[in-house]
């Protein structure tokens, strides 16, 4: 709307000035603070029709919000909660989630948009200056407080009766110890539990996927097989804690490709068994590159060479993966020839 449309009587006699009247340009100091600039009227301040339009806009936004809330209730009752819909360009969405979220979002957003539009177009936009006062108390207040404090301290005699003060400090310092003591039973002491796993001599290597004991011929060159010790079942109460240490990965290498002498000794016909738990911070290693015999931890990219004692060749891990010594029992099944000789998983202070 152009200014010609504004009824004459609505135009202000002159632009009113904000507090601290506008100074004329300072000849002495061109950089001096000229004071608050005069208030500029908005169209709504001078044209009632524009103000009415703003009012209608605000009311419309609040009305849309009400409708959206009704839409929310209607969606809650009518939309089946297993239905999926396609929304361009996002893709497939749960119809219930989409309907509820959109209606709730619109209902909330319109309240906000209405309130902000109201504030911006119809409420006074005259800037007001407020005085600040120093945060620091005036000197006399400070004196008074210090004097009061000294008076109080003197009356308590805490400075003079040292025995009371010292025993009180002692008592208050000691009493939290009870709280600390109570934390003791948060858990058992570590002892040597991190050094032992569910593996022991004679335990069969059970395929994690099929739950069947493994024979050497089940392990093909280039494959990565995950195994658990015989007797450890998913329904066991401590399964999660045991598998966190006992998880095993098995690969078959060509015996002539094994560079590490001990690794060869502890293997069976080129089949080697290593802890699956990364020695960095304990992620399960699960990526195997059959050409290079490298395994990679997907969490922090530590890379180990399985043909060379599983030494670290890249990444943040600090030491090689522990190897499990394996053999074959009388019935032709792969078995462990003992527990891991070193702790599996992340290093810790007592590991040594």
């Amino acid at each position: 709307m152009s200014s010609q449309d504004i009824p004459e009587e609505n135009l202000p006699a002159e632009q009113d000035h904000a507090h601290g009247a506008v100074k004329v340009a300072d000849e002495e100091n061109p950089f001096a603070d000229p004071g608050l600039p005069p208030h500029e009227h908005r169209i709504q301040d001078i044209d009632e029709r524009a103000a009415k339009r703003s009012e209608r806009t605000v009311a419309l936004l609040f009305t849309v919000s009400m409708l959206a809330t009704i839409g929310f209730i209607a969606s809650y009752v009518t939309v089946p909660d297993d239905k999926s819909i396609f929304v361009f360009p996002i893709g497939h969405l749960s119809a219930m989630n989409f309907a509820l979220g959109l209606t709730l979002g619109v209902a909330l957003f319109c309240i906000g948009a209405g309130a902000v539009h109201w504030a911006r177009t119809l409420m006074s936009d005259v800037e007001i200056a407020d005085e600040r006062h120093p945060i620091e108390a005036p000197a006399e207040v400070r004196e008074k407080v210090i004097a009061d404090f000294k008076q109080g301290a003197k009356e308590s005699a805490i400075g003079r009766r040292k025995l009371i003060r010292n025993t009180m400090l002692g008592a208050v310092a000691l009493v939290p110890l009870s709280g600390v003591m109570l934390l003791r039973d948060l858990g058992p002491l570590p002892g040597t539990s991190l050094r032992h796993t569910a593996w022991s001599k004679g335990k069969l290597l059970v395929n994690m996927n099929t739950n069947e004991p493994l024979r050497p011929e089940d392990v093909a060159v280039g494959s990565l097989t995950f195994a658990k010790p015989e007797g450890l079942e998913e329904h066991d109460e401590n399964f999660q804690t045991e598998i966190a240490k006992a998880a095993l990965m098995i690969v078959r290498l060509q015996p002539e490709n094994i560079k590490d002498k001990r690794e060869l000794e502890w293997s069976h016909e080129g089949i080697v068994a290593y802890s699956k738990i990364c020695t960095h911070v304990g992620c399960p290693i699960s990526l195997y590159e059959q050409q290079t015999h490298h395994v990679l931890c997907p969490c922090h990219q530590s890379t180990f060479d399985l043909s060379d004692g599983a030494r670290v060749i890249f990444g943040p891990a600090g030491h090689a993966l522990p190897q499990l010594r394996i053999g074959v029992n009388d019935e032709g099944y792969l078995e462990a020839l003992g527990d891991f000789e070193e702790p599996v998983g992340p290093a810790f202070w007592e590991r040594g």
Binding site: D33, A99, L108, F109, G114, A115, G352
Partner: protein, 545 residues
Amino acid sequence: MSTANSPESRSRGKAPAGERLADWADGRLGIYSLAKANMRKIFPDHWSFMLGEVCMYSFIIIILTGVYLTLFFHPSMNEVEYHGSYVPLQGQLMSEAFNSTLHISFDVRGGLLIRQIHHWAALIFLAGMFVHMMRVFFTGAFRKPREVNWLFGFLLFVLGMFTGFTGYSLPDDLLSGTGVRFMEGAILSVPIVGTYISFFLFGGEFPGGDFVARFYSIHILLLPGIMLGLMVAHLILVFYHKHTQFAGPGKSNKNVVGMPLLPVYMAKAGGFFFLVFGVIAIIAAIAQINPIWAIGPYRPDQVSTGAQPDWYMGFAEGLIRFMPGWEINLWGHTLVLGVFIPLVLFPLVLAVIAVYPFIEAWITGDKREHHILDRPRNAPTRTAFGVAWITIYMITLVGGGNDLWATHFHLSINAVTWFVRIGFFVGPVIAFVVTKRICLGLQRRDRDKVLHGRETGTIKRLPHGEFIEVHEPLSQEALHTLTAHEQYQPLEIGPTVDENGVERKVKATEKLRAKLSETYFGEESQIPKPTVEEYKEITSGHGHH
């Protein structure tokens, strides 16, 4: 005297109901004195002052939706078999925590929406705090008297990170369980006590059967309780100190210019809560977050590729990823430097930014109150330091997603990791130098603008053929705004040997302070702002050209 008959109280008796209710409350709560100071409190307007509001509102949204989630969530690690309506997982063993999260997502109408709002709001809360902190940092709003409030805000940010971490670990899904395992591995690396802390935290060996219940009480009670207290204190201080403002005509260190709380900010800020809530609800309607049903229940022997924490933990993740795997074995003990150094660096990098206000106050020796904000360019060393800090943060964040960078941009993971290792040291130095140059350049431009006016883009041809661009002198408002900032002089120690040749003792800290002061305010570090004399000489001599 009986007050019931006094004319004053009779006139009150005829007041409208609202006023009578207010009178009743005032007689018991003293609300009028409170309202006198605050009802028409002035708030200055600037878009960046909105960032803190985003944080406050997302925090409220998190609490509201969080309370709803507790009605359905079972913080238990007991193993159960799934029989809910999500077919692919039926018959699977999972913890009750995971089971009840599936229940919320599929069998509670609107449960998924509330879960997604809760999670999205948490991400926005942390991002909001990060950006809000940067706003406060780069404008120098942390200076006296607001240092303590800066610390409150910093604590909110750090506690927010841990509340977020414990929160996303609660569903006991494969991704978050991997994150908890990472935390356990990091705790194990602490010399001497690490193993014990880990056993006490998890009730024995990892994962045990306790951590979800323990994280739950930390996540819904302990940390948010502290945060709520801190946030209230933060707001009380904002009210008490009154808001900062940028320099401008009519705005000084002794006033605050803006619009009153009632009605403008009541409507704007109150409305803004609904805007934030509405936007988050719409995001939660269309953008899936943390689909735990696709990730599956936690198993310590399983993992998925591309495992990432929420963004605010990516910084910790990056530190642990690019650190070389150093390990020292001596006298039967292991010092796991490869994990322990990142664990120490994590709080250290954060602490640097937390204590910065105190360092700067010591260097400037300025004990005055500051309510006028700095433009970042006018504090080049501070700005450069802040950008250097963000550079460390961002490079480390890249390190936290090195696998994603490698797969998305077809790079070698080793190359990305090495880039981060080198960038961690070199990046902040480059960022510091470049930022400082840019700030000084902008200061020069401001100076030119003040002295020679604004470039109008109008080209004029002089009688003798020369082309010049017409410059338009600035208004007094603009001149004032561009010259309102203060410039410190570097601290001078003076000669350490007096006229008699006797050496004066200067403390090492004093020398350091003088050196830092030179770095901050020396000739290399700020462009002298134009003086009135310079201005007059140029403008009076040959007019404006």
